[in-house]
Amino acid sequence: MSKFKKKRGAASPQVSTASLPDIIFMLLFFFMVVTVLRDSEQKVTVRTPEASELTKLQQKSLVNHILIGKPKEKFQDQYGTRPRIQLGDSFKNVADIPLFLEKHKVKVPEALRPRIKSSLKVDGDVTMGIVQDVKEMLRKSGQLAINYSARPTQRRR
């Protein structure tokens, strides 16, 4: 009996927290790897419409983004309030799309190039005219796989 008592008294009652930093660091590294820091500032207001039949865009490196929407307030005195196209981090015109696509393409390994997709992030209030022009230019540039970016809604069944 006395033997047991002695043992209990000697063992420290606290759980060792020495491995806690390791666990936290593991989580930290996971998040650091997963994080994709935004490489370009969004200069147009885009509130994508809602839709239910969505597919996920795989592999971010194979996607280029074309944003269409009203310029944000601080750019409005320079660029007006009509919807504009943003490619990369600056305002561009429809005619600049082929070069933009080409610039993105050279960064992608050749074998994966056929799988490049264009993600069109268009504000819901924009009229179809500018979208149509962009679509036409994409077709002319041979970029046929596109994705109309949208927010998910409940799937009505």
Binding site: P49, S52, V126, G129, R139, K140, L144, A145, N147, A150
Partner: protein
């Protein structure tokens, strides 16, 4: 007594307890700054561009489901006004034609959806309509996949099975050059 001294010597190690706090701080910083925004959207394949005039192919009127969206965001489906909410059911009925109606498509393989909008149509309306058409096809594929293989249609299905389904109900959506009556913003 001897044991006590050894314990006090052990506690001379650097206290690693605060390490967790530092790591936590970093972790929370990254958690806050991270935006894991999964890009989602409706995937579309555009037709290739060609300079020459397209061949005029005569299609039977019953096989064409024409949808017009004007600059006031109103729908005209086969000459009749329609609400977007009814579009999905009507599209499904047109493609599948379960009651073998005279005025609906002869077979799903012959059905063609024609979509035409105005340059002044709102993008959100266009996506709404596009979404309904996509939904109609997805539901038809789902039904067929359940009937044939007992599982709903999804990307997890074999390529061969998916192809078999898509051969039976091909998605034929033709987008016409938009009109330019409405005002653009």
């Amino acid at each position: 007594m001897a044991r006590k001294t050894s314990r006090s010597r052990m506690s001379n190690e650097v206290n690693a307890g605060s390490m967790a706090d530092i790591a936590f701080l970093l972790l929370i910083f990254f958690l806050v700054t991270t935006t894991i925004d999964v890009d989602k959207g409706i995937t579309v394949k555009l037709p290739p561009w060609s300079e020459d005039e397209p061949d005029i192919t005569r299609l039977k009127k019953r096989n064409v489901f024409s949808i017009l969206v004007n600059a006031q965001n109103q729908l005209l489906v086969r000459g009749e006004p329609m609400r977007v909410a009814d579009l999905r059911e009507n599209t499904k009925e047109f493609i599948a034609n379960p009651r073998k109606m005279e005025n609906l498509s002869e077979a799903p393989t012959k059905a063609l959806i024609s979509l035409k909008n105005d340059r002044g149509t709102k993008y959100s309306k266009y996506i709404e309509v596009y979404n309904e058409i996509t939904a109609a096809y997805n539901e038809l594929w789902d039904d067929l996949a359940l009937k044939m293989y007992g599982v709903p249609y999804s990307d997890d299905l074999d390529v061969a099975k998916r192809k078999a389904i898509r051969d039976q109900i091909p998605k034929v959506l033709s987008e016409a050059e938009p009109t330019a009556f409405g005002e653009e913003n």
